[in-house]
């Protein structure tokens, strides 16, 4: 009783399928070696990976029986490949774009900020309290018209914040 149901649900792959797939794998191996001898620039990597993936698919579907078996096994493999893809993709999002930060222009610190309460109180009321919302792309983050006293007091902060090439001092206060 038990054994009958066991046989009933088992698929036996025909010999010719195994042999055909085996030969196909060998052919693709030859192809990938040959293709690597052409100079295709960055396409070499893509071609190599594509051919490898075809070979992998053949092994997985036929030798590992995925094509004949329950779908759950394909789900299992696909999930692991997706996770691997996420690992590589998001890691590369970091690696490839690390240099971006050097293009960022700094914003000056708002001279009216509460943290400088003591300093702002000391200055004569010539700072007009323009808060700087300079955007990163224009990034000319120079301080607007502020009192000399303020500039003196926070000169160390300014020089840390601002990129080396921007001018200290004026821009038009039209923010």
């Amino acid at each position: 009783m038990n054994t009958k149901s066991a046989e009933h649900s088992v698929h036996i792959t025909p010999l010719r399928v195994y042999l055909t797939v085996g030969i196909a794998l060998l052919v693709f191996t030859a192809v990938t070696v040959k293709v690597s001898t052409f100079h295709l620039g960055s396409w070499n990597a893509i071609a190599a990976l594509a051919i490898a993936s075809i070979k992998a698919l053949l092994v997985a579907l036929f030798f590992m029986h995925l094509i004949y078996d329950k779908k759950i096994y394909m789900v299992v493999v696909s999930v692991s490949l997706i996770m691997l893809g996420i690992l590589i993709a998001l890691t590369m999002a970091d690696i490839l774009r690390r240099g971006d930060i050097y293009d960022y222009q700094a914003h000056p610190i708002n001279p009216e900020a509460k943290i400088y309460g003591k300093l702002a109180a000391d200055t004569t009321g010539s700072s007009h309290g323009e808060s700087h919302r300079s955007s990163a792309d224009t990034g000319r983050g120079a301080a607007s018209e502020t009192s000399t006293a303020f500039e003196q007091d926070t000169s160390m902060i300014e020089s840390v914040v601002e990129p080396a090439d921007s001018a200290h001092g004026r821009n038009d206060s039209s923010h």
């Binding site: 009783m1 038990n2 054994t3 149901s5 066991a6 046989e7 649900s9 088992v10 036996i12 792959t13 010999l15 195994y18 042999l19 085996g22 794998l25 060998l26 191996t29 990938t32 070696v33 293709v35 690597s36 001898t37 052409f38 100079h39 295709l40 620039g41 396409w43 070499n44 990597a45 071609a47 190599a48 990976l49 051919i51 490898a52 070979k55 992998a56 092994v59 997985a60 030798f63 590992m64 078996d69 329950k70 759950i72 096994y73 299992v76 493999v77 999930v79 692991s80 490949l81 996770m83 691997l84 690992l87 590589i88 890691t91 590369m92 690696i95 490839l96």
Partner: protein
């Protein structure tokens, strides 16, 4: 529970062989999932360093022997065929054929390792070693040792899996010879096959990524 109609290879907590076999297969596929991710970490490291050092990778890989690498690829593909045929033979209860194909797989695995041995000893001889042991001076580009760190880690871990596979295949040969399997029950052979095909799969990717950088 009728324990008399209950074959010896059916564990008590399963109701029938189909459930047991399907459970075993699902378990094996989940294990394969973990192996994909284990190697996946190394593939990620490879991607990072190849993208950061494309020219150095190209220069360094030229010191790998493509012929030997291709032969090894052929060896592993053939071993996958023999492995599949071994299982197929047991599906027809052909014990002798099963044994021959299993032995063939084992022999091909050994051949792979022998070739690897030659490749490794050549590199050791030249000083093309990982990290701070690197002493070779013939490769252009900064930090060529990175390529070899990645090469040895990836192929080394792969070789460890080949050795593990050989141990399991030997065990399967022993069990087949002792008549543990039949046309109704050969699940351990199937699971071994799945593992072995995975080892082949990983090499299918390692080969072009390491040996065929265009």
């Amino acid at each position: 529970m009728n324990s008399d109609s209950h074959p010896a290879y059916l564990a008590h907590h399963f109701t029938d062989i189909v459930q047991q076999r399907d459970s075993a297969k699902l378990g094996m596929w989940i294990f394969i999932m973990t192996e994909i991710l284990l190697f996946g970490g190394l593939f990620t490291a490879y991607t990072v360093y190849r993208v950061l050092n494309p020219d150095m990778f190209y220069n360094a890989h030229k010191h790998l022997d493509i012929t030997l690498g291709t032969i090894n690829t052929i060896v592993l593909i053939t071993s996958s065929v023999t492995m599949a045929l071994a299982i197929r033979s047991m599906q027809f209860a052909r014990k002798k054929a099963t044994l021959i194909f299993l032995l063939g797989t084992l022999a091909l695995a050994a051949a792979f390792l022998v070739i690897k041995y030659f490749e490794y000893s050549h590199k050791i001889h030249l000083g093309q070693l990982p990290g701070r042991f690197y002493t070779f001076s013939g490769i252009e580009g900064t930090n060529p040792h990175i390529f070899f760190s990645i090469y040895f880690t990836m192929t080394g871990l792969h070789a460890l899996h080949i050795i593990g596979g050989m141990i399991v295949i030997s065990l399967m040969i022993f069990r087949t010879a002792r008549n543990h399997f039949s046309s109704e029950y050969y699940t351990p052979l199937e699971l071994t096959g799945l593992y072995w095909h995975l080892v082949d799969l990983i090499w299918i990717y390692l080969f072009p990524l390491l040996y065929l950088i265009g």
